[in-house]
Subunit: 199 residues, 2 copies
């Protein structure tokens, strides 16, 4: 009853994070019957994704002809300050602030286990090698730009142990009341952090 | 900062129903950096969707060489009983029961306005033409297999007016307590329907 390409499409799409089998099937039907033009666009957009490479230094995706991304190539960026982020979208968010002039390492989602996957260990090794070869053994500062959640704290302390020998300073992002937020609605932990880190 | 193919992919995907711009961007990054193999699968699955055709009679997607889908072609199905569904997935659900031996018309999502779109009017015309040419002017029964919601009721009454001259009988799906459900938790409307439609 279910046409083969629709089944295949739904199967593949339900492997994506955040997309369930029902939604995937609805999408497949939607595209097959109501939106043929959109189907073409998806086909095209998907094919051009093969042009994306991963920076061999920071692991952010890019389309440069070079092996490195624009940030890693830029002579204007400070080489000895490195922010470690989990996701590429976190890097984007930090870049939008225009307040960070250093380099990055995109580590990949650290999850909830407090242990790194093989790929993540490899990326951390790449950073350590870079520090030892290009920065004379120690970075000036490594910022663990990891979410201030319970699991984030766990992962950050794991990274702290890994990286302490390779940097002079290890920091995390400041905590406090978000701009636009109200003291009344801030939880105790946030408010404690805001008092301790007052500006 | 955002590589072009990733931006394009995210833009296209955020046009899909139920996928927001943030999720689309996360998906694009996920595919570009962590799941290159899955990327290939998506590319392949998307391309093969072009093989899907829409049945010219019931508008269910299929991959037959013929213009008609397997149901419309089958001599075993009753030609003069037609179930009207909104979504292809609704047709699938009804087929799984194996209790319906008639034909279908997939009308497309009727929405909340109580008015049909051009494409939906066209599909209804196809049905009316079929009834007048193949069934001698009147179907035996048309089942409005539309959700028993407030909007569904509105759409059903709109379809009732359209189809009354073309069929001997117009029905909707039975209402009552779902199998496995408990009387205690059934709402008043459902329970009323269950009393009136007792078996």
């Amino acid at each position: 009853m279910l046409p083969d390409p629709i089944k295949k499409f739904a199967d593949v799409f339900s492997k994506l994070p955040g997309i369930g089998p029902r939604q995937a099937l609805r999408l497949a039907f939607y595209l097959s019957s109501e939106e043929r033009a959109l189907m073409q666009e998806i086909s095209f957009a998907t094919d051009s994704m093969s042009r994306v490479k991963i920076c061999s230094l920071c692991f952010y995706p890019h389309t440069n002809t070079d092996k490195l991304c624009a940030i890693c190539e830029s002579p204007a960026r400070l080489k000895n300050i490195i922010a470690i982020v989990e996701k590429a979208t976190d890097l984007m968010s930090l870049e939008k602030t225009k307040r960070f002039k250093g380099h990055y390492l995109v580590l990949g989602d650290l999850g909830k286990s407090g242990v790194m996957e093989t790929e993540q260990k490899l990326r951390l090794e790449t950073l350590k090698n870079y520090i030892s070869k290009e920065l004379g053994g120690k970075a000036e500062e490594i910022i663990l730009a990891i979410n201030p959640t319970a699991y984030g704290d766990l992962n950050a302390s794991m990274l702290q142990k890994e990286l302490a020998p390779h940097t002079n300073k290890l920091t995390r992002l400041g905590r406090g009341i978000p701009t636009g937020g109200e003291i009344e609605f801030a939880d105790e932990e946030t408010l404690s952090a805001a008092i301790l880190g007052r500006i």
